[in-house]
């Protein structure tokens, strides 16, 4: 199996490399470039996942690594332009991932655990946030670009940086839960906490960046908090509308629901980009609406969308991997690794404190932090905002932030998968569908 997968990767890699040599160096063909990158990344990601399956490692890490290795920073089989052309796929993937998360979150079922979810979310955010704030405050004395800052300015840099780095990754958590078919208290708690906490982080980032702009008047104008609030509530409203459309479709038509869901999320991502709406919030609100308000229920659609889930995850995380700035990471590696370790420490501290206050199940106490370590989509998006909005210091601090995210992106899924296996919540042996005998 592994040999076959390696040979396939080599064959497809050689074909893609040869194809790129048809046009002058650096040139790309609009449309074809994206199609080629999509095809290559999807095939290679699926094959890499087979190799990782054999090693007992998460497929998600395989997807990310194959994007990283074949992306512009290492082998450059897939160029930066080609990755840019895949932005629309990324938006749809984020929407789909969030939609699946929303479909899993039934508030009625979670009500008995709501106190625990809120307490854990709050304490882990505060725990990691405080440690990261102190760390970045110290780092401002070391980085040349922030060395001359006043105390208030240093505090603002630390606030922005810690706000970005406390974020979790619903996409990675859902991806791991999906590939391991995990079900149980740890799976449910991990997903609930990361989704809820990331909703809070989107709002707190909007607030903290608005305050930071007052301290750094030279920073880009950006969006005011009112505008951001409109976008947040607009996204939620958009999600409710999308949920309504999907519910009506299932009730009235019912066929090809998976493709229809994908198409609606694709349209909402495209419209959302034009209207500055967040595809994650749209997808999440749509899923929550279906699961908690609509009589249709989310499970029906999430089952129907299963067929497109694997390709979506593969391509999304491969693109995320291809976007990793490896060279920049090498320069800031010590800070990045220290940041990742402090963040992990803060999360563990938060879960332990919550455990003491709420008398949590020992399994949750021991294993839950692993579900909160991963970072990807939202953290990268926020770090990119720091890079773009707070020049010149934002470029340096943003690179450190991205470095920390890289560490969490690559290492944390392995820990989370192991934790799920040890908790006995995975269902790895059950094949999706038995191979049929040949009809010949």
């Amino acid at each position: 199996m592994t040999t076959r997968a390696i040979l396939t990767i080599l064959m497809v890699g050689a074909l893609t490399y040869a194809t790129r040599s048809f046009v002058p160096k650096g040139a790309t063909v609009t449309g074809s470039g994206a199609a080629l990158a999509f095809g290559f990344l999807l095939i290679v990601a699926v094959q890499s996942a087979k190799i990782f399956d054999g090693l007992g490692l998460p497929r998600l890490t395989a997807y990310i690594l194959c994007g990283l290795v074949f992306g512009p920073e290492v082998l450059n089989v897939i160029s930066a332009n080609m990755i840019d052309d895949l932005t629309i796929v990324k938006g749809t993937a984020v929407g789909l991932i969030a939609f699946l998360a929303g479909c899993e979150l039934n508030f009625r079922r979670l009500r008995p655990q709501m106190k625990a979810i809120l307490t854990i979310s709050g304490l882990t955010l505060v725990g990691a946030g405080v440690l990261l704030f102190i760390f970045f405050y110290g780092v401002t004395y070391i980085l040349p670009v922030t060395a001359s800052f006043t105390t208030i300015q240093r505090m603002m840099v630390a606030l922005i940086a810690s706000n970005v780095l406390v974020s979790y990754s619903p996409a990675v958590v859902i991806g791991i839960l999906s590939e391991t078919k995990a079900k149980g208290p740890l799976s449910e708690m991990s997903m609930s906490v990361v989704v809820l906490a990331d909703l809070v982080i989107v709002v707190t980032y909007a607030l903290s960046s608005a305050v930071a702009r007052l301290v750094f008047p030279s920073a880009g104008a950006g969006d005011g908090f009112e505008v951001l609030a409109v976008h947040i509530f607009g996204s939620i409203l958009g999600g409710v509308i999308v949920g309504g459309v999907l519910a009506a479709y299932v009730a009235r038509v019912g066929t090809r629901s998976g493709i229809f869901t994908f198409a609606v999320l694709f349209i909402s991502a495209e419209v959302g980009a034009a209207l500055h709406l967040n595809p994650l919030l749209i997808g999440l609100a749509a899923g929550l609406f279906l699961e908690n308000i609509s009589p249709v229920g989310g499970e029906k659609l999430s089952q129907a969308a299963q067929s497109v889930t694997m390709p979506t995850f593969a391509i999304f995380f491969a693109v995320i991997g291809a976007e990793v700035h490896l060279r920049a990471f090498i320069h800031v590696a010590p800070f990045a690794i220290a940041g990742a370790m402090l963040r992990a420490g803060g999360i563990i501290l938060g879960v332990r404190t919550a455990s003491r206050l709420l008398d949590l199940d020992p399994l949750i106490r021991r294993k839950l932090p692993y579900g909160l370590f991963p970072q990807a989509g939202i953290a990268i998006a926020l770090a990119s905002l720091v890079l773009a909005d707070f020049r010149p210091w934002g470029q340096v601090v943003g690179t450190v932030l991205l470095g920390t995210i890289v560490v969490n992106e690559l290492v944390a899924p392995v820990f989370f998968r192991t934790a799920l296996v040890e908790a006995g919540e995975t269902n790895l042996e059950q094949p999706e569908e038995a191979v049929e005998p040949s009809p010949a």
Binding site: S21, G39, M310
Partner: protein
């Protein structure tokens, strides 16, 4: 984006989603099957109108079209692969040898008659050789080639041999159309191509064949040992996207290269070939809607030349089909009356949409004659559909009258 534009986009998308829901409704699909209707004439037509409306409202921006371009290429590749997978040589081997010349005639005659009539009409409308006459005539030929079976249960009841002929002819027609489009892509290669390779046309022809065959082998190696249906879908999507991207990089026809890959794939000893075909079919219908929508953006129903060309296209194509049916009935005594056979082969297949899309939208050709060709195919397709439905209704009434009179026929 200004508020007015936002409102337009939201409204337009709401209408599009509404049509998509209607188009996918099982009742609509049952209705299509029952009456032998094509996608273009029924659930697809609103998408055409929607494209037209979106252009008028200014919703379809260049940026939006650019963003969708990878999806267009992927869609062409997907449909191309599905068409190619129809050509299972083993099935053709099982057909009676006497059917082969009849099938060839049934495919070639409509193409020839439409080619002669449409070329003359285009020339009379002022399109001159060297400025698109040959290319536009070839596009119309390809559109004339494709046919979809009408209501065979009604028209060819008790004529199994003829039913088989019609089904096989529709499959061969699709490949003939893609062959013509492949020829157009090679002979009329766009000047803007940035490919580093400079080959004679015969070289590009060999490249098309070679790339299609190579990608067929690659797809075979990829799907040969897939573990489950989800992985199969992922691999198919990846394979089609890779093939589309490679063909696009060389400025070859994406649909043609993928069709060739499909032919190679289905003729290898692939397990679960039927399942792969059904997966491809599952996604085909939404892709047709998308293509129709984009064709609608370039559609100009206000140009009278398109209506003239549409009339000529429909009549010449029908004439070719009738001629082929008469020859077939003359050669085979076990065939039904020629009218029934001709009507069975008459409807325009959805592949015409792909041909039009492949030849126009991707190359961004919007000059007059191409717009007329779009109108011609739309008008011709609807006129043909009306004619076939009228004939089927007459047949149904005749069968009803015979049943009332106690005639077992």
């Amino acid at each position: 984006m200004p508020a007015e534009q936002v409102a337009r986009v939201v409204l337009a998308l709401a209408v599009a989603v509404g049509f998509a829901v209607l188009g996918a409704h099982p009742r609509v699909m049952r209705w299509e099957r029952r009456f032998g209707l094509t996608v273009l004439a029924t659930s697809g037509f609103p998408f055409l109108l929607l494209g037209l409306l979106f252009r008028e409202l200014g919703v379809m921006t260049d940026q939006l079209l650019r963003d969708l371009r990878p999806l267009f290429e992927f869609g062409l590749g997907w449909v191309g692969l599905a068409v190619g997978m129809n050509l299972d040589i083993r099935r053709f081997d099982r057909l009676p040898p006497s059917l082969a010349p009849v099938m060839a005639l049934a495919s070639v005659l409509p193409i020839l008659s439409a080619a002669i009539a449409c070329t003359l009409t285009l020339a009379m409308l002022g399109v001159i050789p060297g400025e698109g006459l040959i290319r536009d005539a070839l596009i119309l030929m390809a559109c004339a080639a494709v046919s979809a079976p009408a209501n065979l249960d009604l028209l060819l009841k008790k004529f199994r041999g003829a039913t088989q002929l019609v089904l096989e002819v529709t499959r061969v027609d699709q490949l003939a159309a893609l062959g013509i489009i492949g020829f157009v892509a090679i002979v009329f290669r766009p000047d803007r191509t940035v490919t580093l390779w400079h080959l004679p046309r015969s070289g590009w022809f060999m490249m098309t064949l070679g790339l299609g065959a190579l990608l067929g082998v690659v797809l075979y190696l990829l799907v040969r040992k897939v573990e489950d249906r989800t992985e199969e879908l992922a691999i198919l999507m990846g394979g089609v996207a890779l093939a589309s991207g490679m063909a696009g990089y060389l400025a070859l026809s994406v649909a043609v290269v993928c069709a060739l890959a499909g032919v190679v794939l289905i003729n290898f000893p692939v397990r679960r070939g039927e399942r792969i075909v059904s997966t491809l079919r599952e996604v085909e219908r939404p892709l047709y809607f998308l293509f129709l929508f984009i064709i609608g953006v370039s559609w100009r129903p206000d140009e009278w030349q398109g209506w003239v060309l549409g009339g000529v296209f429909a009549i010449s194509r029908a004439y070719g089909k009738i001629l082929a049916a008469r020859i077939a009935v003359w050669r085979r005594e076990d065939f039904p009356p020629w009218r029934n056979l001709a009507a069975s082969l008459m409807p325009e297949s959805s592949i015409a949409i792909v041909v039009l899309f492949s030849a126009t939208a991707l190359e961004a050709v919007t000059e007059g004659a191409v717009r007329w060709a779009i109108n011609a195919v739309i008008v011709g397709s609807i006129a043909t559909e009306i004619g076939v439905q009228w004939f089927q209704r007459r047949e149904r009434l005749a069968i009803g009258a015979q049943a009332m009179n106690g005639d077992p026929a």
